[in-house]
Symmetry: C2
Subunit: 157 residues, 2 copies
DNA sequence: AATATAACGTACGTATACTGACGATATGAA
DNA sequence: TTCATATCGTCAGTATACGTACGTTATATT
């Protein structure tokens, strides 16, 4: 007689599957809270970094936000078209473009503060407060430990 | 004197940001482990469900995998082109196409079993075993609680 | 039986996300 | 100074991911 082993595990018990679903859930919550602004989480993240660290070039900005250069250039171009960001060439290095937030971008950032906060809160709201802290601590630990994965290689080899 | 409050929190302390990074990390680990097969996590998930529940239509399959109908149709079309899946029209309902795994698909699924397992294991490997269980339990709880978000509405309104 | 409603698959548009390649520019070592 | 190497921004290609809309087909209501 044979015992049927579920070696791979059910879909809903795999870390990767659950993380993808969580990502989708957060995107939906963010979209719901920020529907009035037509801004995505990544766009908001870029604007945040452009605000706190004005004048970064695109590669540095990509590293801070955690996307590759090509993706960042796409998103930044969209935000520039909307008048929320500005790009200007560097004088000391003709390769780079320095990114900074426009006044319209800064104003939008302020208006979005609370909705964004709500989206993040709702993402983990189903857990009791104590478990939320635990979850966030573990999440930070994981991301910090494997931070080099899933990001465009900054150094070519 | 003023105390500067970091109201929104640093990027790396927001659930949504960390979840997006975790997703990227898992995608990278999966790609690394499964480089020989040219299959993505979502493609693998679809093949898994097509294997365990053969003959589902695309909408049901989309629900099981956790993507919307349009996305699923895209991925399934690619897998069909590769000869890993088959679609056949239903006789009882002319609207639907029933999806099932081909023998080549089943064989590939077997070959990928261990690499996929490794990718999932590595995704949470940075945590000590006890914390892994905690993390997975909290993750499952969150996804189950908000499972209706981030998925194409199955019922039109 | 006629009609409204709903579900299926699909197409289009948009956004993230990454790889690989490219020309332009900077910087290191010979 | 020359030359190899590295980095910057960009482009092309591919893959998820979703909203919306559409025609086709089922089902429920009247």
């Amino acid at each position: 007689m044979t015992i049927e082993l579920d070696i791979a595990g059910a879909l809903a018990e795999r870390p990767g599957f659950l993380i993808r679903r969580m990502h989708q859930i957060h995107l939906a919550l963010f979209a719901e809270e920020c529907a009035a602004f037509d801004i995505t989480p990544v766009q908001y993240s870029i604007m945040t970094v452009a605000d706190s660290q004005p004048g970064l070039d695109q590669a540095q900005l990509a590293y801070e936000v955690g996307v590759d250069r090509a993706t960042l250039a796409n998103v930044v171009a969209r935000l520039e078209t909307k008048g929320l960001l500005r790009r200007r060439p560097s004088v000391s290095d003709k390769r780079v473009k320095l990114v900074s937030l426009s006044s319209r971008g800064a104003a939008l950032l302020e208006k979005m503060l609370l909705p964004v906060q709500r989206a993040h809160d709702r993402t983990i709201a189903a857990l009791p407060p104590k478990d939320r802290e635990t979850f966030m601590a573990l999440l930070m630990r994981l991301v910090n430990a494997e931070n080099d994965y899933g990001r465009a290689p900054l150094k070519l080899g």
